[in-house]
């Protein structure tokens, strides 16, 4: 769809982003098809609303791997290639839950805090080598499915009551931040977290 609409090249690759082998193979495939990678968005990740004492080791590992391990591997594999070219912008996905944490999202909040931490550390590490590493910090952008299956009326009241704009975000409202962090407009920006949350992180009550 992207190709026909905008006459750009696009490729889709089936990959487990937490597998270094698969991500390394994907890097080679992208370089062969499109050329050197300039921008990486580490967007893979899952969540689960399980109460703390009921979280199984399998679920802990699944959420952590999908969020933290995949972001780590993305930075290592694609960031490494960017370092060789001395050019690149990496955009990780933090969250309003990265700290202070969000109820009913124990492992997810831990993982997002870790992603924020890694973003700062790599922003520092690669600052003089042409590769910028930043994070987007979205507030609440629920899918229709999430609204129906996860967000009870009480939960919605709590979320919107803590969002000064008193509404959910539209996915299109993340795009400007992504383009900004990817572009030369952000050439002096690294290790940062760009908040897009309708004011959620700016208030207590």
């Amino acid at each position: 769809m992207i190709k026909s609409d905008f006459e750009r090249s696009a490729v889709g690759i089936g990959v487990d982003a937490s597998s270094k082998e698969e991500m390394s193979a994907a890097l080679m495939q992208v370089e062969e098809n499109l050329g050197g990678v300039d921008i990486l968005v580490n967007g893979a990740g899952i969540n689960a609303p399980t109460p703390f004492l009921e979280i199984t080791m399998e679920e802990l590992k699944a959420v952590m791997d999908s969020q933290i391990t995949s972001t780590f591997v993305g930075c290592q594999v694609f960031g490494g290639a960017m370092l060789n070219r001395k050019k690149g912008s990496i955009i990780n996905i933090s969250s309003a839950s990265a700290g202070p944490p969000l109820s009913k999202a124990f492992v997810y909040s831990m993982a997002k805090a870790g992603i924020k931490n890694l973003t700062q550390n790599l922003g520092r590490e690669w600052a003089k080598h042409g590769v910028r590493v930043n994070a987007l910090r979205p507030g609440f952008f629920p899918t229709e499915w999430n609204k129906i299956n996860f967000i009870t009326p009480d939960r919605e009241k709590a979320i919107l009551g803590h969002t000064p704009m008193e509404r959910y975000g539209e996915v299109s409202e993340l795009v400007g931040g992504v383009i900004y962090l990817a572009s030369d407009a952000a050439s002096f920006v690294t290790g940062s977290e760009l908040v897009i949350d309708g004011g959620f992180s700016a208030m207590t009550i």
């Binding site: 750009r8 696009a10 982003a17 300039d38 996915v171 795009v175 992504v178 407009a185």
Partner: protein, 47 residues
């Protein structure tokens, strides 16, 4: 002004990789990056 904005924000011909690009949020990011001029690789479990 178009040149000014293109110089600041333009991503023409750049290569962008998006993991989880088949999802709700990242799918929109892929479309946005494509509209800004990027060539896109969508990496996702959901092929």
């Amino acid at each position: 002004m178009v040149d000014f904005l293109e110089g600041m924000f333009g991503l023409k011909g750049q290569v962008a990789v998006v993991t989880g690009g088949g999802g709700y949020l990242c799918g929109e990011m892929c479309m946005g990056l494509a509209k800004a001029g990027c060539n896109i690789a969508v990496l996702d479990l959901r092929q």
